[in-house]
């Protein structure tokens, strides 16, 4: 494992390389080149270490809806067709991110963190969750293929569920969940599947119907919502019966995938970004250029640094505790993630 200092050096070097790529007329995309042209400083000169990232404004995800996707195509990718992935969006035009190979790279890196005992090489996977226009659908299939297996899918449309919850049609949400779970259980019963990606809510619902390990599931990779220590403990001890491995993850279309370190008796989940390709910081929500102290809650800020996508200082709709580095990750983590403002207001999160 590299040291914290080496990790910082690696991050700074990677940042300089990405800034050079995105802000050079030969390789950068119209969106960032146009932005740079309006500044009185050149990012390629000024951005030397990650501390300099604060020279950029917070990336606004509305730009991913308001700008044409073509304006985010780096010239370095030439005319190579791109994938379009969507994020969020219950009404109107959803936000979109384009990409080529990032999802493969991200999930191959994630694969390296999975234990073969619980996610056996060559085993088949099932994804029960949001497919459709989401990056996750291709990513999970690639993960399964990369590890030598195939992947079954059952779709769940979170936009529809959010609408039902907003209308307080909870019975309808339960009927829809049953519809999704019916399909998943049917496939799990009749096909040889050992690895599962799903959301905590669906995992619970499958567990209500049948024994998850009893279906042959050895490992569950879960993501998509708040995971309180008590809920995680319940999933590990009761839904997975202490037999199958739970791997909580934090991720989205804009970042990739942050892994968690193995759970201990506190069941508190801490995620570590896939540095240097993405960086998570926990910032003071009222003064967002200040990083909170370790152990304090703050708003989650994401910076994505790949050749396909440059996204500085995006403020996620989540808050978390800033946690210290933990092997094998020599950089800060984000712990006990929950929706930003969760203590002050009701947030529709029941989808996942």
């Amino acid at each position: 494992m590299i040291t914290e200092s080496e990790a910082n050096d690696q991050l700074d070097a990677h940042l300089r390389e990405m800034v050079a790529w995105h802000f050079s007329p030969e390789t950068g995309c119209p969106f960032w080149l146009d932005w740079a042209a309006k500044q009185d400083w050149d990012p390629r000169d000024k951005i030397q270490t990650f501390a300099d990232i604060n020279l950029f404004p917070h990336f606004q995800d509305e730009w991913l809806r308001d700008e044409k996707n073509e304006r985010f195509v780096p010239k370095g990718f030439g005319n190579r067709p791109f994938n379009i992935f969507e994020t969020g969006g219950t009404t109107g035009l959803p936000k979109q991110r384009i990409g080529w190979d990032d999802y493969k790279t991200d999930y191959e890196m994630f694969s390296d963190q999975l234990e073969d005992e619980f996610f056996p090489r060559g085993a088949n996977w099932m994804m029960v969750g949001p497919t459709g226009p989401r990056r996750l659908r291709l990513a999970i299939e690639h993960l399964a293929n990369h590890r030598g297996g195939s992947c079954y899918f059952v779709d769940m449309d979170p936009r529809w569920v959010k609408k039902l919850i907003a209308r307080k049609q909870i019975d309808e949400v339960e009927r829809y969940a049953k519809h999704v779970v019916d399909q998943a259980v049917e496939i799990l019963k009749h096909r040889d599947i050992q690895c599962l990606f799903t959301t905590p809510r669906i995992l619970e619902a499958i567990g209500e119907r049948t024994s998850v390990p009893g279906l042959g599931i050895k490992g569950v990779f879960c993501g998509g919502t708040t995971m309180t220590p008590q809920a995680v403990r319940f999933w590990v001890e009761e839904v997975l019966e202490g037999k199958a491995r739970l791997v909580p993850t934090y991720g989205n279309t804009l970042m990739g995938l942050a892994c968690s370190v193995p759970l201990d008796e506190t069941y508190s989940v801490t995620y570590y970004a896939p540095q240097p390709r993405a960086v998570l910081r926990v910032v003071d929500s009222k003064q967002t250029d200040r990083i909170v102290d370790h152990g304090e809650y703050g708003r989650v800020e994401l910076t994505t640094l790949t050749k396909e996508f440059f996204m500085p200082r995006f403020l996620e709709r989540d808050e978390a505790i800033r946690r210290k580095p933990h092997a094998p990750y020599p950089w800060d983590g984000v712990g006990d993630v929950r929706p930003f403002g969760a203590l002050e207001k009701k947030i529709i999160e029941g989808v996942y």
């Binding site: 209500e208 999933w235 009761e238 839904v239 029941g350």
Partner: protein, 476 residues
């Protein structure tokens, strides 16, 4: 060290990683921690309720009645387990803890405690009332005879979900008979009142009841939702919107606003002063926090005089130290509630034209604070008609409106009313009162609305809610 009240999962103690503070109303300091259940855990346990029902089903009804009677004594007198850490709770501890988190003065808690303690011993009579004299061995065997006719009853649920409020400990009386009826309970305690259901459960267990009969989940809105949606039968406390939301669901019995009333007939109105004590007690007993407290007094004449007399009788009901033996007025666990209610009353006074009669008598504002607690002083309003927005309102403190209306129009205008005390001997009117579909409980004569006989149905018959009669023919 604060006591940590755990979850009970079919009687088994479970300590959550999610510990939440129960805070003192006056100081905001934590008094205890409660284990909070995630909704997945609640759903998971609800699927196992057949196990709990099986255990309880095997205990004869008479034995369960004996256990219930013993539990009442234990509830009133014994030191019982409180936290999973081995901490205990004496009756005095219970009183102090409940006072701290609910705002109830000690006098009212003692009264509620005594009332609740007595309920246990009356469960046999209550069951006789609810089952119309059924030999309870019919529930043991599944069938039998009543008045020479074969009868059989089958439980329509394997548990009774109970979403408790925080406003009055005595409401626990409503679920206690379920145990003798062999139906396990799944209880979500009120946020500020984890104490009473916990103590009732511990009393039952110490008295010899199978622990499996009790599941207890301090939990979130989602956890409550899981109980409401998944339990076969649910007892729920809430406001008008809650009542409306579940109006068409036969699984759910909602205890909403009572809008209880006292009507004085034309034959008795000249003697209204004789009934002043009944009026005052009905409005103010238990600090006016119950659905059985009178919120509207309807009279054919002397409305102004009656409103003034009741307001004057209540003017000495003021905030005192919670342990003052003379304290009768309860504080609000949530201070915002007191402010909101007072503002709502002022708004209605302004728009409807009613008069706050109490305001003309008492020296202070309605909204008061003392020792960090928030209070509303008793308020009697005089409304010109039932059109007035305050005429049929119910609030969580001693509040009532006085409306003048000719006797012939009263029953057309009172609307749904949990308890109606009709002070009259007019037989024709009594007949009309008996026929009135808007009245849930009827008292004829000067009987305070807050004095309830539990051996008669209260907002529904619990036995008929939990059991269904089926036809049976046995050839062997």
């Amino acid at each position: 060290m604060l006591p940590e009240i755990p979850i009970l999962r079919l009687g088994k103690v479970y300590q959550s990683l999610d510990l939440q503070d129960v805070k003192a109303v006056a100081t905001g300091e934590p008094v205890a921690k409660v284990s909070f259940a995630n909704d997945g855990l609640v759903k998971s346990d609800l699927r196992r309720m057949d196990e709990a029902r099986d255990v309880l089903r095997k205990v004869p009804c008479q034995e369960l009645l004996d256990i219930t009677t013993r539990a009442g004594e234990i509830f009133l007198n014994d030191t019982l387990p409180l936290g999973a850490d081995g901490s205990t709770q004496s009756p005095d501890d219970y009183l102090a803890q409940l006072a701290a988190t609910s705002g109830l003065p000690h006098t009212l808690i003692r009264m509620n405690m005594q009332r609740l303690g007595n309920i246990f011993g009356q469960v046999g009579t209550i069951l006789q009332g609810l089952t119309r004299g059924l030999d309870l061995s019919v529930l043991d065997k599944g069938y039998g005879e009543q008045m020479g006719v074969p009868v059989s009853f089958n439980a329509v649920t394997n548990c009774l979900g109970v979403i408790m409020p925080s406003n009055s400990p005595a409401v626990n009386a409503l679920w206690i008979p379920s145990i003798a009826m062999k139906i396990p309970v799944v209880i979500k305690p009120g946020r500020e009142e984890p104490w009473t259901p916990w103590r009732v459960i511990q009393s039952f267990i110490k008295a010899g009841c199978p622990p499996e009969a009790f599941s207890y989940y301090p939990t979130s809105h989602e956890g409550s939702g899981a109980i409401i949606r998944r339990a076969g039968r649910v007892m729920l406390f809430g406001d008008d919107s809650t009542v409306a939301q579940h109006a068409n669901d036969p699984r759910i019995e909602v205890h909403g606003s009572g809008r209880s009333k006292i009507l004085i007939g034309e034959d008795k109105i000249e003697n209204w002063r004789d009934y002043l004590d009944v009026l005052v007690e009905s409005v103010s007993a238990n600090s006016g926090r119950s659905c059985i407290n009178t919120s509207t007094i309807v009279v054919p004449k002397y409305a102004d005089e009656i409103a003034k007399a009741v307001a004057e009788a209540l003017v000495d009901m003021r905030p005192l130290a919670t342990d003052d033996p003379a304290a009768k007025l309860s504080g609000f666990a949530n201070p915002k509630f007191a402010e909101w209610i007072s503002e709502a009353i002022d708004g209605d006074l302004e728009s409807g034209g009613a008069i706050d009669v109490s305001a003309t008598i008492r020296p202070d504002e309605r909204y008061q604070t003392r020792d960090g607690m928030h209070y509303l002083l008793p308020t009697i309003t005089r409304c010109k008609s039932f059109e007035d927005p305050l005429a049929n309102k119910e609030y969580l403190f001693p509040f009532a409106s006085v409306v003048e209306l000719d006797q012939a129009s009263m029953l057309d205008q009172i609307g749904p009313s949990l308890v109606v005390t009709a002070i009259t001997e007019d037989q024709d009117w009594i007949t009309r009162l008996l026929e009135c579909p808007d009245i849930d409980r009827l008292n004829v004569g000067p009987h305070p609305t807050n004095r309830v006989q539990w051996n008669q149905p209260h907002e529904g018959n619990l036995f008929e809610f939990l059991y269904r009669r089926r036809a049976i023919q046995v050839a062997v």
